[in-house]
Subunit: 217 residues, 2 copies
DNA sequence: GTCTATAGCAGGATAGAC
DNA sequence: GTCTATCCTGCTATAGAC
């Protein structure tokens, strides 16, 4: 029906605009008037469709954020191909590529990481859901992929710490963009992103002991 | 004078309590009533001493945060000793130790990193000051220390990216404590912190290619 | 310098017309 | 389903007594 169609659109518009604003400014700093203005709809629409501001926020994670995380995981898996024992180098490369140049647009990527960084610094109900449904399973998959290539005395916990450290770097270069730009004195353009991917692969694989770049070529 | 002394104390108490609250909840989510209640003083005191809530927030960075950052840098330098060409291993170890078990108490460290993580995600005037006055000079010092030991073809920019990545990991394990605890399924106690230091040293030096632990022993 | 009281406004939520 | 008008809470900031 036409009516249903229009409802969908308003609801979707609210979700889209609210997500952008929550990512930029955080939950408390955004107000409903701002959201509805951006979504070009009436002030009462948020309460009509979502019941409350709080629930709109949670719905953004339930629908938008989770869907994007799934897209990222699918992209990662398909970029690995199906040859089952992948080298750490191949896995790290696919990870860095997925999270910095993968299926998301620049704006989407930024938003995605801003939202999760905010949740990690100050958890709400959303974080538990994300960790249980997305992060833990993904870390488990990565662990299983990496374990065969690791030295025998690496424990499961140490492997998880390694994976978290890679994510920490990816997260940082996405949520702290302004700081990075100012420190490195360079705009966050396509060229810089390419450099970042290279860097993240190298650092994750070899740390400071550095670029085995020659061997990779 | 007694009066001046008491003023100082009230002002200090406000700074202390406000910092804790801003770190936990973010600027917008904290209100003056909460701060003055925690500082056990009158509602009007914040405006009397700081002029506005906003200026109280900035003062926390100007006095408290910067002072702590200085303490951390001093601690780091003195733990290196004065032998000028330090190995990367020694530098990384001193860094990890300083930021995870250095001069700050657990609560101070957590607060310190929560505040900077919030600023990085959503910069205010405070960030520019911090970057210019503390972060850039510190990165410069670290670069100069590390450069001699790096392979010839490492550019200055790549070196800075390496340093930022180390900080990203340190920052993550401090500001995202709740997420880490839930993922790793283990409390953030002294034993875990020791493990974290070990991990950060190892990962920063060798990345996934892993623990040259045997050689270090 | 400290307090109470309150001005003045912003924001979440809802009632009720259309 | 969409809109306007409005209630009500809770906030910052300040005036003015002590």
């Amino acid at each position: 029906m036409t009516k249903d169609h229009e409802n969908e659109l308003t609801k979707e518009r609210i979700l889209n605009e609210a997500e952008i604003l929550f990512a930029q400014k955080g939950y408390k700093s955004v107000n409903i008037r701002e959201i509805t203005k951006a979504a070009n709809c009436n002030l009462a629409a948020v309460n009509y469709y979502f019941g409350s501001k709080k629930n709109l926020y949670l719905d953004i994670f339930r629908s938008r954020w989770m869907a994007r995380a799934k897209r990222l995981q699918e992209f990662f898996k398909s970029s690995l191909g199906s040859i089952s024992p992948n080298s750490p180098a191949k896995i790290v490369e696919a990870l860095a590529y997925t999270f910095l140049k993968g299926p998301l647009s620049e704006e989407e990527r930024h938003r995605h990481h801003q939202l999760i960084a905010r949740e990690m610094a100050q958890p709400t109900e959303a974080l538990e859901m994300i960790i249980d449904q997305m992060i833990k399973p993904f870390i488990k998959e990565l662990s299983d992929m990496l374990l065969p290539s690791m030295s025998k005395d690496v424990t499961k916990e140490e492997l998880i710490l390694n994976i978290l450290s890679m994510f920490a770097i990816v997260l940082y270069f996405n949520f702290a963009r302004k700081a990075v730009t100012s420190i490195i004195n360079r705009p966050y353009d396509s060229e810089f992103k390419t450099k970042l991917i290279e860097h993240i692969i190298n650092f994750s694989l070899y740390g400071l002991s550095g670029s085995q770049k020659e061997e990779l070529k």
